[in-house]
Symmetry: C2
Subunit: 587 residues, 2 copies
């Protein structure tokens, strides 16, 4: 059934346990959140000894199912104060899956000023003192670890995580480019830093490999899913050709591309930073598009962005980073944006939060909107650990408080991603009501609201967006637990055979007989565990709100305000009338 690897950083012990029966059906986010809900005191200090860092590959990670190698990291978030799961692609998920390790639970807290590397391989696991890695950027860290251990999977933190900064993420590496795949959101890098863990190194040499109970069903399912992914216009064409930044022009056209700290919904420089431009630009410079983040990905939405001389600059440059460090800061120069992204990867911080932070800093007078050189200077402060760097490295809300800015686009302390709630109401409901704080990946209603995937809805219309957001959040919870990339949703929302393929692969591995309905039901049950943790941590419906300024300021070009009622927001996770009673949650 797989193992749970428990690391106690107070005592420096490493223990393999049988995965408890209650976790048998859980992987990825369902597992990290269940362990956090079961083992972490909701009121603990996020950087104290009682918080835990939980790493769990998705259930199918390490298998040959298409695009199934995601890994989840969980804990109590230093940024939001609530439960947090952040997931990433790259190598570590597949390698842990092949080693039969379902979760790594890191607990306790070491003596001050110690640093360790946790090495996991087929022979076991050990903690290796690593004070010589202190304060190293994530690029150098990755390189040194590859020199020492071969091309292993690495979960690591940069200086931001070591300093305990609230926007510190956890890097996952891919085979070619080192860091860049980030479990970035919510400050889990600071939790890892507080445990004295600089990196987790995963070597799957001689691993037993991924076990499938019902191979026939599994093969049928994975093929159906792979076909759907290849045949859908988004996963088969748009994403491989232009990468995720294909959304820049689409969102700009929709008037929902947040610009200059969420002052406007359209950016005059959008075409200069679009996926189409990145694609053209890569051809002239030797960059790459259609790049996979881990072996076996059939979507291959990623890219490598090159310097003018053709040498790699950063990989990948994704839509969210491109927007956050670009449009939201008024910056339309891709070289500057790529450099900002590289700085984030090296210091070990989330690009969405970093871009929103820079925009708030610009609003607070630290730079002019559009000044990429000054933005680079500012962001370089983070790894230096200067007082200014510590402010910026603590994220948007923190920076706003430091510089007296009251327009702060966050929910539960976490910055909004690249979709304006005033222009796309459903995603705003997800931002407001997600257990995670503002998070597009928690319930990506952009699919029907903007992309005409899984239906077609008016983004400006508030009607029905509560139910929509709930359905997406529950289904997403399920997908986040499978190891599948969330992007499979584009295909399976439109192609029922693909959806069934996803379910079949899970049933083939778990021995369950789940149907499509169970996807929603299971997702909702797991989601409730996250909600219960947050309630015990002191969250209320007042935390499920969009910031005040969006209720008052009209967003150009549609000149709309946030107008989804509080009653609708409160209905999203009100399970009192649905028969989905609280006692199910304890199950």
């Amino acid at each position: 059934m797989g193992k749970l690897l428990r690391i106690n950083m107070t005592n420096n012990t490493v223990t393999f346990e049988e995965l408890p029966e209650k976790y048998r059906l859980l992987g990825g986010r369902a597992l990290t959140s269940s362990v956090v809900a079961d083992e972490v005191p909701p009121l603990c200090h996020p950087l104290g000894p009682n918080n835990k860092l939980v790493v769990a590959p998705g259930l199918l990670a390490g298998s040959i199912a298409p695009s199934s190698g995601r890994i989840s990291v969980g804990g109590k978030s230093p940024l939001t104060g609530g439960i947090k799961e952040s997931n990433a692609g790259g190598l570590p998920g597949q390698k842990l899956g092949k080693l039969g390790i379902r979760a790594v639970v890191v607990e306790g807290k070491p003596e001050k000023n110690k640093a360790y590397i946790l090495k996991i391989d087929a022979a076991g696991a050990e903690l290796i003192p690593a004070d010589d890695f202190k304060n190293k950027g994530m690029y150098e860290t990755n390189e040194l670890l590859w020199e020492r251990f071969g091309k292993v999977g690495i979960l690591g933190i940069g200086p931001a995580g070591e300093m305990g900064l609230l926007n510190a993420g956890i890097s996952c590496n891919d085979m070619e480019n080192g860091p860049g795949r980030y479990a970035g959101r919510g400050g889990l890098g600071a939790v890892m830093g507080s445990k004295g863990l600089k990196a987790i190194v995963v070597d799957d040499t001689d691993a037993p490999g991924f076990k499938v109970a019902n191979k026939e069903l599994f093969d049928k399912g994975r093929k159906a899913l792979a076909d759907a992914l290849k045949n859908h216009a988004v996963t088969g064409e748009a994403l491989p050709t232009f990468g995720t930044a294909v959304l820049i022009n689409i969102m700009n056209e929709a008037g929902g591309l947040p610009t200059r700290n969420f002052r406007e919904g359209r950016f005059e420089g959008a075409s200069k930073i679009s996926g189409e431009t990145i694609n053209e630009w890569s051809k002239t410079r030797g960059g790459k598009v259609g790049h996979p983040c881990h072996p076996g990905c059939v979507i291959r939405c990623s890219n490598v962005v090159a310097h003018p001389d053709g040498s790699p600059h950063v990989a990948p440059l994704e839509y969210e980073s491109d927007w956050a460090l670009g449009a939201n800061c008024g910056i339309d120069d891709l070289d500057k944006i790529a450099e900002l992204n590289r700085i984030c990867n090296d210091a070990g911080i989330d690009t969405i939060e970093a871009g929103c932070t820079l925009a708030v800093a610009m609003e607070g007078g630290l730079a002019d909107f559009g000044d990429g050189d000054r933005a680079i200077e500012l962001l370089n402060e983070v790894a230096m650990g200067s007082p200014l760097g510590r402010i910026l490295g603590n994220g948007t809300e923190f920076t706003a408080k430091a510089f007296g800015v009251s327009r702060v686009p966050v929910v539960k302390g976490q910055s909004m991603p690249a979709y304006e709630p005033r222009a796309v109401k459903g995603i705003g409901v997800t931002y407001a009501t997600s257990t995670m704080g503002a998070d597009h990946t928690a319930g990506y209603t952009i699919a029907p609201e903007i992309l005409a995937v899984g239906g077609e809805l008016d983004p400006l219309d508030a009607a029905g967006k509560g139910d929509l957001a709930r359905a997406f959040q529950a289904t997403t919870m399920f997908i986040d637990s499978t190891g599948y990339c969330l992007f499979i949703a584009f295909a399976i929302l439109d192609i029922p055979e693909g959806f069934q393929g996803m379910v079949d692969t899970m049933n083939a591995v778990l021995g369950t007989e789940w149907t499509a309905d169970d996807v929603y039901a299971q997702g909702l049950e797991w989601l409730k565990r996250e909600r219960m943790f947050n309630e015990a941590a002191g969250f209320t419906k007042e935390d499920d709100r969009i910031p005040e300024f969006m209720l008052e300021e009209k967003l150009p070009p549609h000149n709309t305000t946030w107008d989804v009622s509080e009653a609708v927001l409160d209905s999203v996770h009100d399970y009192s009338d649905t028969g989905d009673e609280g006692d199910e949650v304890a199950g």
Copy 2:
């Protein structure tokens, strides 16, 4: 019945309104909190246009009742996110009272980068552009305003308030020494700064004077209270002789003087910073003890601390400041402590929060405990507005997040004052459950737990401390509304005639027939308004908790942890079984 003066900073309008009937019986904190509860959206940004700054003199301020000149300032707190009332002595309360102004409500928000002075006198009120006062320290501000307007009462902010820093307070002046009387807690100076108000100047020349309906009853009451204050050992002897810092040796002896960021309960340097030492020291240097903070105070607990050459250094140096900037930072040099206090007064920040901030910064490695010179350097950064200064000026929790410190002695984001909850359980219950965040003045159970005033209870024993804290919080709410200094509590808890004197003076002014029982009942009713605001702002019982580290770390010398149960904490404001139903609150 008095006037309400409404200032709109968006439109620059100044309007006198009749005080609404529903506020007829309310003054000070009861009035500021009622206006905030009625007019401020609980989820508004504290520094946005929808927050309001409410200033209300206590009901008897301006009368000749003894020690009755306190003034309350209220709003939504930038520091805690909840309702806030902070009160102070000094001149402005009495002068507003004599002018018949029951409340000043400042709302809206001006164009960026404007500064104004609000001048209030017998002829009316006006907003005077004051951009030339920007970034001036509070000492210079006070001096310039006195030069221009005569010896007026001044409510003002220093650079910290102008920058919107979370620990910015509002200075009140006394007749001789300018700033030093601070409505310091909870960041209301930042709210004032966000409104573009540098100062409120109150001139009571030709004021109509304080009106008393029943002069005979009033005189009887005030005399009974004055007798009690003179005859009680604390208010008649200890406080006038040694000032509030008389508590240093007492709390040290009790093992409850928080030392070096709440690591110990006893400070080896206590005798060097005690009230007794300040008294001796003043005699040799030309400082003063037994100094009143406003005319008509019979307690006169205040002091003026002098430089070695006899010139005034800071006035006053109170117990809380002496402790926060002294023992809690491991500093035992009164000259250094006085300088730190002066810096706080000039920058416009609260000394309790500032001292706890410095201690957390020391724990985070910015200075050694006990290094007064480095502490002075650090605190000087605040007024400069450097990134480090903005971190420190945002208080303890903020600084802890900047420097990765997880031992953070705050409740609801506000720093704990000079009494260790692990050594004095009742005050810990007040810290945890007060609407204000950690605040000794919200329910000063130190009286029976340490001083044998109003009974005698074992400070280390948790039993009965929930009921005790509720009783003190409700009664305190009443006193905070009268204009009387909270220190009258020492006398009236022990001397029934003094208590009746307080009630008589209120009845004489209001025409009520309140009894001693009504003091508790009214206080509780007003307190519920504050609780309801906080609930609507998203506060839950999880916010009524003592920080995790105090549950785990044993505090020397008693080696006790925080052991009051969550059930007891939750009982303090659980009115469901008491017949004090919620509908009373709306009254």
